[in-house]
């Protein structure tokens, strides 16, 4: 019986068919993929990207002279979008093409932001890594570390402590007040509450710098408190309070009103409802708001900048003395030109980022989610709390204690910097950056004696102002009070004061210039040329006036960029004083052009004419750091000699009245200052100097712009300055007037002559509270001292070599920070020689003298007379410079490949190349477009 043993063939076939159908057709109950990327989509994107890359490559490296990386990426992106649209349009209608394009653009924008964020974070951490690698970075402060010391010394622990203290005080002040106010706004709605809310919202717009200005004007200037961490914390609180109130207000308003009403229905009072229902419900949001407000306040620099002062040492007492915070440390450290200091600045920035990130993570973790949503941890906590409540209701325990634990441990008097057994207290000063390098070195040296000196280099005008307002114990300034600057006269302080000279030095002209890729180190400038440079009269380095001073240098046709001080500066005042005395005919018209009243005279604010190529930077560090950047070729500035030494850059030799070009070494400055007239009549101007004779000093060694720097000390107790401060200031003065002068030469200054040291020592006696010491001058080891009263440094000063005299020969030795590097003379074009083609050069005789294609080597000048010495051509100017031949011990000038920005010089060439690019584009795009058009038509 076949039917019983085997199913019929038709059934077999249908079962087979069923199986085949089941295998080939999708399961109706399986999840259908609604989203998802088809293979064709991925291939479209990939194909568009690769082909656009290839096309851009072709356009850039073969056809056209465009060169920058950014242009490459932009053209690639635009080409990618274009090609992607074309590829998609083959299959899909126009709406889908638009959709895909927008998707690509939105993805790009989104990724761009996150990539930028990641890049900024990694850049900061990687630049700060050299400093952060050392453990001392996190455990020491900057007392011992100077700008010339390596990263094994110094750290930022003082700013970390300062930040934590300031933000804690700010939180203690703002959280209770802010939360209570937010509760008030929500629980007691009325016209008054609406008014308060409007005012609070308005105050969130207050710029943080204005908050700092407010605290400066009231707390510090009117109420007379010192610049301290507490002042900074107050400024941060003023800024943070409206932000916290508004954030808390929003969170509390989100609590559902049904919860409140349920609580009232159960018979509780208002405050119990708030305490047990409203606040716990909004607790997560409140925590997030508070922590984010704290992160915002932590990162604020401008309020702290105005109110906290600056110190390099640890100060754990926020009520007394300046205190640094992390953002302020970053801002200050980054001004130095030395790489180590910049690494420290980045390290401080990275530390700040880590602190902010930690707070952020804490906010997310502790805060949890919005009201109504719970994390599993919060659910567990809630059930545990309910169990506890059940037990409590059962046991009828006693009253719950309200405990509010304040974080205000720092409000109690904590110890400030250690009081040495000698009874020195920390003192602070501010003012000139001209003498700051010397003061910083002396400050570090007296640390071992227990003296803690804080000095803020903010410019002489600021120092005089602060001394007048009584916010600092001493000021340092190059010019005295009472000078009329433009329309304002600088009034002297109310309390008694005296001037004390601290050091001498020269205002040098630091510059950044290269010939043939090699740094110029022997530039000479006469006074008239300098005056014209800094009044915009000379704008190019190859000006004939500069060439007259430098007959053996083939200076490039590069723009002169004068860098001037933007703040109120004693260096500017010294420079202006020299200009006004020696070159008034150039100075006065320039001042008039800048809108100042004439005759111009001395000014602490360098006048700048709008639209000029002048660059203004703040502080001596700012101007020297600007010139020291390698791309800022052509920059020149006026700054004290020590800054050029520290940056490793040369200074220009200045022509004196004897016809010699000299640089401001300690001996040349000492010679120059022999002609300074010191005011010896007792009175407020005792010991100030008149430098007219110095400018015109006819000694061959004299440097014209030599000057003294003064410390302004109080002669009576007033305000915060008491006898303890006086004792410390007096001890510091005794140190630098005697032993400190030994280091002046090495630091880039010139030691004081004996008459000024003696006069200074007698001024010290006027400081109230000073421990009068009888100093044996002979033990001071001051290089200027001699037995017969003459200035030894000046008498033994070496005379300048004859090549420094005005004439056709120029000394090759370097100056300033580049003393060891000579600059060989570059022969002027046409006096020698055989042009040898340098590697990669073009064929001589093609007639073109300027390079037109990128990547070209050094072009050669055809037609130069044959000679004996081979030369190469400076790629910048086309002038000929000598090349070391056999037996020459000079240097070899090599050409550098230069890629030039595209200009419209070779108009026809560019046009042809762009046309070629367009043709290429059409060749790529046209066939598929035509094919699509045809297929559409036949459909």
């Amino acid at each position: 019986m076949t039917t019983l043993l085997q199913p019929p063939a038709t059934e077999l076939r249908s079962e087979l068919m069923d199986r085949i159908e089941a295998a080939t057709q999708p399961d109706p109950y399986a999840r259908r993929k609604v989203r998802g990327v088809r293979r064709s989509d991925a291939l479209a994107i990939g194909g568009a990207a690769v082909s656009s890359l290839a096309m851009t490559n072709l356009l850039f490296f073969v056809l056209t002279p465009l060169s920058s990386a950014l242009a490459f990426v932009s053209v690639w992106y635009v080409a990618f979008l274009w090609l992607y649209a074309v590829i998609v349009s083959v299959d899909e209608p126009a709406t889908v093409v638009a959709d895909r394009l927008v998707t690509a653009v939105v993805w790009t924008l989104g990724c761009l932001l996150f990539v930028a964020l990641a890049f900024i974070l990694t850049y900061t951490v990687s630049r700060g890594a050299p400093a952060m690698k050392h453990l001392n970075f996190f455990t020491t402060d900057m007392t011992e570390a100077g700008p010339l010391q390596g990263l094994e010394v110094g750290g930022i622990v003082h700013s970390v402590v300062g930040t934590l203290e300031q933000i804690s005080i700010a939180l203690v002040l703002t959280i209770p007040l802010g939360l209570t106010c937010a509760v008030f706004l929500n629980e007691f709605p009325s016209r008054f509450a609406r008014f308060v809310r409007t005012i609070v919202e308005a105050m969130t717009a207050l710029p943080s710098v204005v908050a700092g200005l407010f605290i400066l004007a009231t707390w510090i200037l009117i109420l007379g408190f010192p610049k301290s961490g507490l002042a900074a914390a107050l400024a941060i609180s003023v800024m943070m309070l409206p932000i916290i109130i508004r954030a808390a207000d929003v969170v509390i308003r989100l609590v559902p009103h049904q919860l409140r009403e349920a609580s009232y229905a159960l018979g509780t009072s208002r405050w119990k409802t708030v305490w047990h229902v409203v606040l716990p419900t909004s607790r997560s949001g409140l925590t997030t708001a508070v922590i984010l407000g704290a992160a915002r306040g932590l990162g604020e620099t401008s309020p702290v900048l105005l109110t906290a002062g600056y110190t390099a040492s640890m100060n754990t007492n926020p009520t007394e003395g300046p205190q640094v915070s992390l953002p302020l440390a970053v801002f200050t450290l980054v001004k130095f030109p030395q790489q180590d200091m910049i690494s420290r600045a980045f390290g401080a920035g990275a530390t700040l980022l880590i602190v902010v990130l930690a707070l952020f993570v804490a906010a997310r973790f502790v805060g949890g989610r919005a009201p109504g949503h719970e994390t599993s941890r919060q659910r567990r906590q809630r059930s545990a709390a309910s169990a506890r409540d059940a037990r409590r209701f059962g046991a009828r325990a006693g009253a719950v204690g309200l405990g509010l634990v304040l974080i205000g441990l720092t409000l109690t008097r904590t110890s400030g910097p250690a009081y040495a057994t000698d009874g020195y207290v920390p003192i602070s000063g501010a003012g000139s950056t001209w003498s700051q390098n010397a003061i910083e070195q002396w400050r570090r040296n007296v640390n071992q004696y227990g003296m803690s000196i804080n000095y803020q280099g903010t410019g002489s005008s600021d120092g005089r102002n602060q001394f007048r307002n009584g916010t600092v114990d001493f000021a340092v300034s190059e010019i005295p009070y009472g000078i009329t600057d433009g329309n304002a006269t600088d009034p002297p302080p109310e309390r008694g004061y005296a001037y004390m000279p601290i050091v001498a030095g020269g205002t040098a002209f630091m510059y950044n210039l290269k010939i043939g890729g090699k740094q110029v180190t022997n530039l000479r400038l006469s006074g008239d040329v300098i005056a014209r440079i800094f009044t915009g009269g000379i704008t190019m380095w190859n000006d004939p006036a500069i060439a007259k001073d430098n007959p053996q240098l083939a200076l490039p046709a590069r723009q002169v960029v004068p860098v001037v001080r933007s703040d109120g500066s004693g260096t500017t005042a010294q420079f202006a004083s020299w200009m006004a005395k020696e070159h008034a005919s150039t100075w006065d018209p320039y001042c008039a052009k800048a809108g100042r009243p004439t005759p111009c005279g001395v000014t602490s604010f360098f006048p700048v004419v709008g639209g000029s190529s002048f660059v203004a930077q703040s502080g001596s560090l700012g101007v020297s750091a600007f010139v020291a950047q390698s791309q800022n070729e052509g920059a020149i500035t006026y700054v004290e000699y020590s800054y050029a030494l520290n940056s490793g850059f040369p200074v220009a030799k200045v022509l004196n009245h004897a016809g010699y070009y000299v640089e401001p070494t300690a001996s040349n400055v000492a010679v120059g200052l022999l002609k300074a007239k010191i005011n010896l009549t007792p009175g407020p101007s005792y010991l100030t100097s008149i430098l007219d004779g110095v400018y015109a000093n006819a000694d061959k060694r004299a440097y014209p712009l030599s000057s003294y720097s003064y410390m302004i000390v109080p002669t009576e107790v007033s305000g915060r300055f008491d006898e303890d401060h006086g004792r410390t200031l007096g001890a510091f003065a005794y140190y630098f007037l005697c032993e400190g002068q030994q280091q002046a030469d090495v630091l880039g200054y010139s030691p004081l002559p004996i008459n000024l040291v003696q006069a200074g020592l007698s001024q010290v006696k006027k400081i109230p509270g000073v421990d009068v010491q009888s100093v044996d001058i002979r033990k001071c080891n001051n290089p200027t001292f001699s037995s017969n009263g003459s200035n030894t440094l000046a008498t033994t000063a070496p005379y300048p070599p004859s090549c420094d005299k005005v004439g056709p020969v120029q000394c090759t030795t370097g100056t300033g920070g580049k003393k060891d590097e000579d600059t060989q003379p570059s022969d002027p074009a046409g006096t020698t020689d055989d042009p040898t083609p340098t590697p990669g050069g073009q064929d001589p005789g093609d007639g073109s003298t300027t390079p037109t294609t990128p990547g070209a080597g050094v072009p050669t000048v055809p037609g130069a007379p044959p000679g004996s010495q081979p030369v190469a051509i400076d790629p910048d100017t086309g002038a000929q410079v000598p090349v070391a031949g056999a037996g020459d011990t000079g240097y070899v000038v090599t050409g550098q490949a230069m890629t030039l920005a595209a200009g419209d010089r070779a108009g026809m060439n560019t046009l042809l190349m762009v046309l070629g690019g367009l043709v290429l584009l059409l060749a790529v795009v046209l066939p598929p477009a035509v094919g699509q058009l045809l297929s559409r038509r036949t459909r």
Binding site: D99, V102, T103, L117, T180, V210, R364, R558, S613, F614
Partner: protein
């Protein structure tokens, strides 16, 4: 029968609570008013000296009686405008990306990342701008000024781009560079405001658009963007307000010259907050009052912009449904 009083008299503890709360409101109001009044009083001292010259003069010499905010206000507004030009597309694009295009799983992480970017301190942005961006963006400035200099605003007078020796310093420390750095600072805030609104676009309308056959972009264009229009404008104005008050990053990057400088690509520029931060130490008492007047002007400008933003957001569809 005597009328029963329906008012409830607060119990002892509640009275204390009420007085403490109202007291805190009074204290906060007093502090804010004191700040405002003090600024106004000190500023008026300076304004008495300058008269109407305050809004027409472009120099800043308080001791000479000639000071005005024209130059610094122009500089501040230029920085704000450059910042908004870069921040608006970036913020709107990122907000759309997070709410519409990003995979759902990473949405929360992206929102956290944006909030994190808002918390990065401005000194860090200043550092990055000073050391990295300044050395790389001058090629862009040179390109823009060469090809688009005819627009006037993008010109750099005094530049000779065809000269290979032309100095690059005239493109550095410019308003353009400061504007880019400030743009990165304000983008996260703007992005949060916009994203909140976009994510609240009604689901019914979205699905209706999709059901009618719109592509995702079509749905976004017709539903999400009109719904979030108020938030886009409000967020932009909020960002602008923040950009106008930014001090430290601008201070670190720009070379400050107090003069009318309308060329954004050229080095030099100014801003009211940088003027205050820089000049407060060098100024006499009258100078500090003048700085306060400038700060007050900035405050009023930011206030107007913030209130405008709040009004626009509140009046929009997205604002009406949220707080």
């Amino acid at each position: 029968m005597a009328r029963r009083s329906l008012k409830s008299r607060p119990v002892g503890a509640d009275q204390v609570f009420r007085s403490v709360s109202v007291g805190s409101g009074v204290v906060v109001l007093a502090i804010m008013t004191m700040v405002g009044l003090f600024l106004a009083i000190r500023a008026s001292e300076a304004l008495r000296v300058s008269g109407t010259g305050f809004v027409t003069e472009h120099a800043w010499e308080p001791d000479g009686g000639q000071f005005g905010i024209v130059a610094v206000l122009l500089g501040t507004i230029l920085i704000g405008l450059v910042a908004i030009t870069f921040a608006l597309p970036l913020a709107a694009g990122t907000a759309l990306f997070i709410s519409e295009y990003a995979p759902r799983r990473i949405e929360r992480m992206l929102i956290t990342l944006v909030d994190l970017m808002a918390a990065v301190p401005s000194v860090v942005f200043g550092l990055w701008g000073m050391f990295f961006l300044q050395n790389h963006i001058f090629t862009v400035s040179r390109l823009l000024s060469t090809w688009f200099g005819w627009t006037g605003v993008l010109a750099v007078p005094g530049a000779h781009p065809e000269n290979p020796l032309d100095t690059v310093t005239q493109y550095k420390s410019s308003t353009f560079l400061a504007g880019i750095v400030v743009a990165l600072m304000i983008t996260p805030i703007m992005c949060s405001v916009m994203r909140e609104a976009f994510s609240q676009a009604p689901v019914g309308e979205r699905e209706a658009a999709l059901g009618l056959g719109a592509t995702r972009w079509g749905m976004v264009r017709t539903v999400v963007l009109p719904f979030g229009k108020g938030a886009i404008i409000g967020g932009t104005m909020l960002g602008l307000g923040r950009a106008l008050g930014e001090t430290i990053a601008v201070y670190m990057i720009m070379s400050v010259i107090i003069d009318i400088q309308p060329y954004v690509l050229k080095s030099g520029g100014s801003s009211i907050s940088v003027l205050i931060a820089q000049r407060v130490g060098d100024s006499s008492a009258l100078g500090v009052s003048a700085l306060m007047a400038a700060g007050l002007a900035l405050f009023v400008l930011t206030l107007i912009i913030n209130f405008g933003a709040a009004t626009i957001v509140a009046r929009s569809r997205s604002g009406a449904e949220s707080n």
